[in-house]
Subunit: 143 residues, 3 copies
Amino acid sequence: MKLTQTLHTLEVKTTGKGFFEINRPLNQWLAEIGATDGLLTLFIKHTSASLIVQENADPTVEQDLMDVLDRLAPQRPDYRHSSEGPDDMPSHIKSMLTQSHLAIPVNDGRLALGTWQGVFVLEHRAQPHSRKVALHYLGNTGP
Amino acid sequence: MKLTQTLHTLEVKTTGKGFFEINRPLNQWLAEIGATDGLLTLFIKHTSASLIVQENADPTVEQDLMDVLDRLAPQRPDYRHSSEGPDDMPSHIKSMLTQSHLAIPVNDGRLALGTWQGVFVLEHRAQPHSRKVALHYLGNTGP
Amino acid sequence: MKLTQTLHTLEVKTTGKGFFEINRPLNQWLAEIGATDGLLTLFIKHTSASLIVQENADPTVEQDLMDVLDRLAPQRPDYRHSSEGPDDMPSHIKSMLTQSHLAIPVNDGRLALGTWQGVFVLEHRAQPHSRKVALHYLGNTGP
């Protein structure tokens, strides 16, 4: 079967700091383009938000993870880069410690995730943002 | 030459917390499918184990890295998510701070790693587990 | 259009610990091979240097990020692995907490980055090094 690629940009509206699961819009896009088996690569076009694969069964996991990120990247008065607000430099740090891109196999037209895995946009800024996630599908496509 | 893709799931048995090198089974699979030049993508279907590329020459490197992960994600009594045991939430944190996927170029049918680089499954749970690593090879294949 | 892949190794000279932006040589290579739309994957063949996508508008961001990495991975007298110098084990830790590979969409022959995103080699060792970054382009190519 002939391999093809499809590129797209997904817009994700966040409501401020937190985890925003995108399994559904990703699977929807894979269905739209007729993806069958292949690989989906995601790349977030921002450095104060990031991508992560984590458990999506129990929301307290996300809260505990956010606490850890807050401890590792607290708001501090002594960052050199402070012109964009007290939550900006912590956001870059959290982005550094998580992922700016992900790659996930696609099977039978859907993300081949483990049972409790969710794909999330991690918003690190306090305010709502519209985040651009570039998608690249490589693989087979059906009729 | 015509590009092809091959998908597979590698099962990795861990014996509890630690580094489990998978260079050998990865190269073995690449040989089986006749891979020559391309790209291998790995994705772990779990959020309490992860993937990492690290030095494989001196095992004390792995012990020091594990100490760091234990310091960054200690067992604490105050995690909200505690129903799956005291080592579960630390495992999710360690997974967040390392990788859920990797991509490694393939050259002449083998992983194009640096001299002392190993590819590891990082088991974060205390108990042994069987971990599923989804593989996607894209590239040329030989006769 | 027919998908093709191209592999290459980029040599990046570092002058010691710091961020070294590689947007320019990456875009130059993409132009040389006639890349149009596709995906660029980078893999660093070292475990004491790493890759990162971060803000490239304000250099103080990089300094603050480096401070964080130094706090998370200080030079300590009690690492087991110490034979390669006091900055070696901290380098492996920093490498673990950042990325050994990246994947970035390519659009119209250029990296499809956000407005202020830079792709950097993160040198963690104190001394200058020559770092090998393996590149894999997959996608369409022009005339």
